[in-house]
């Protein structure tokens, strides 16, 4: 593997950038592996990377039915933050945020992590009270989050319509300065390249059709479109298709899959300095380095695997953005897309062992999984390698729904996130 540096760039430049090596191999599947990861999105690739990098498990394959980063990893608004209300969530997401901070160096791949600040706007008394509670809870957990007055919001993000005519005026905001964005494709590619270098086989165009189990119950391997592949352990990280894959092992889950939309505008000059989120009027907006406004819309009301959402959902968000930042009213939207997200009843993820020996599950990230990519991968790799959860992901079991120990971020944030 070429180590990327200014010298490798210069060297490749001398030959007209025609001899860059491939970033990862395209191997034929081996007859069996120690660990098979089902799903080659950000979380699955990160899991494989940390298995090889930190936990010494290198005989690993990642099976992806399409291509790397072609699912939700390439279909999100790339928002990164960790200012969640509950202790368990704050630990989980801040673990990820700390990994984001050093990720470009540890992958030797520029993931363009940009801590430009995430500003969550409050539009009514309930929002103000709720966000201030978040700020205090976060401070107790060592997670940065601060309250900004409307004038301070305007100063931090000048395009905002503060004090003007607005149906739901901006009454303040909670700002996490360490929050921001990263380049989603680079995250997938960087983890893929890093995992491949450490011996992981990344097998694209390989859909899992069945999970084979021994008479004693434990997993033996997977049937795929490229034949049978044996495995001592299987980690399922299939996002919206988790219910389908887990059904193959006879496990039914507290999950429903919904299409979640995002859209981008035509590119404009740098105009929007941070990430702004508004749960109440439902708008998520930032500006990419290419100049496009990246906008997150909501989920459809009904379960679906269609990977496209209804137009009125996107329209609703654009209405809100035109109110929030009137200078964008005449911007045209270039394209929109949908990803299928798996949502749990309490809107918190599951990273856990399953009732089937050798089968591990990482799912339920709902509408906000991108921000957790490095932490999710690290914790899931720990869980698979050691056959027990890390203390951070120990509360995120499947059994919490039976035992009533919810981590109820749904109520805490009032919307999915």
């Amino acid at each position: 593997m070429t180590r990327y540096s200014v010298f490798s760039l210069l060297r490749a430049g001398l030959s007209g950038h025609s001899n860059w090596s491939r970033q990862w191999r395209s191997p034929e599947p081996k007859p069996s592996y120690d660990v098979i990861i089902v799903g080659g999105g950000g979380h699955g690739l990160a899991t494989a990377f940390y298995l090889a990098e930190r936990y010494g498990v290198r005989n690993v394959a990642v099976l992806e039915k399409g291509w790397i980063g072609g699912g939700n990893t390439g279909r999100n608004t790339t928002i990164i933050r960790s200012n969640y209300l509950f202790d368990e969530s704050a630990r989980l997401y801040d673990h990820a945020l700390k990994l984001w901070e050093g990720l470009t160096n540890s992958l030797n791949y520029n993931v363009m992590y940009s801590p430009r600040g995430v500003l969550m706007l409050a539009h009514n008394v309930h929002d103000v009270q709720s966000f201030k509670r978040h700020v205090h809870a976060n401070r107790l957990n060592g997670v940065d989050n601060e309250w900004l007055s409307p004038a301070e919001c305007k100063e931090y993000c000048p395009p905002l319509n503060v004090g003007g005519q607005m149906r739901y005026p901006i009454l303040g905001g909670a700002l996490q300065r360490r929050g921001g964005t990263a380049r989603h494709d680079a995250v997938a590619w960087g983890y893929a390249r890093g995992a491949d270098t450490r011996g992981v086989d990344i097998i694209e165009n390989c859909e899992v059709l069945g999970i084979r189990r021994a008479a004693s119950g434990e997993v033996e391997g997977v049937e795929t479109t490229r034949g049978y592949i044996g495995a001592r352990k299987i980690g399922v990280v299939a996002a919206g298709n988790t219910s389908v894959v887990m059904n193959m092992a006879g496990i039914r889950l507290p999950l429903e899959s919904f299409p979640l939309q995002a859209l981008v505008s035509e590119p404009v000059k740098p105009a929007f300095p941070c990430v702004v989120m508004s749960n109440t009027i439902h708008a998520y907006i930032s500006q990419s380095d290419k100049g496009e406004l990246v906008i997150g819309a909501g989920t459809d009301a009904y379960t679906s695997y269609s990977q496209r959402g209804a137009l009125h959902i996107a329209n609703h968000t654009l209405d809100a953005i035109c109110e929030l930042a009137p200078m964008f009213r005449r911007l045209r939207m270039l394209r929109n897309w949908g990803g299928v997200v798996d949502v749990t009843p309490d809107r918190s993820p599951i990273i856990a062992k399953t009732p089937v020996p050798g089968l591990y599950l990482n799912c339920g990230w709902g509408t906000g999984g991108f921000k957790a990519t490095p932490g999710s991968g690290d914790l899931f790799a720990w869980t698979i390698a050691k056959n027990e959860p890390h203390p951070i992901n120990a509360p995120f079991t499947i059994e919490r729904f039976r035992e009533g120990v919810m981590i109820d971020e749904a109520a805490a944030a009032a919307v999915a996130h």
Binding site: L209, V244, L253, P254, S257, S306, A310
Partner: protein
């Protein structure tokens, strides 16, 4: 936006409806008799199929009534709508139709 056929009012745009989740999940007759496992199943466990899904809708900005529907979750195509309390009928046109891409295996 979906066009949904209310059994009472005919085809209407999706915005007139609210979604009611998976259909045919009966409330337990004797709740006290259920153990934790059965409660979990009733409250939280969902089929979430990639394929045909039986679900409830309510024509909330219309006649206000609930009804059931079967919809393909890959194509979002409605196969039929039917009344609460009824079982899904095998619609004639549905018989022999190949499952849409990625139906539950």
């Amino acid at each position: 936006m979906l066009l949904i056929k209310c059994p009472f009012c005919g085809p209407r745009p999706e915005l007139e409806f609210s979604y009611g989740g998976e259909a045919h999940i009966a409330r337990p007759q004797d709740p006290m008799a259920l153990d934790d496992e059965q409660w979990t199943k009733y409250l939280y466990i969902r089929g979430n199929p990639r394929g045909v899904h039986a679900e409830r809708w309510r024509h909330i900005n219309g006649c206000g009534r609930f009804f059931n529907a079967r919809r393909n979750t890959v194509s979002d195509e409605f196969l039929e709508t039917y009344l609460m309390g009824e079982s899904p009928a095998q619609v004639a046109e549905n018989a022999g139709r190949p499952p849409e891409g990625g139906a539950v295996r």
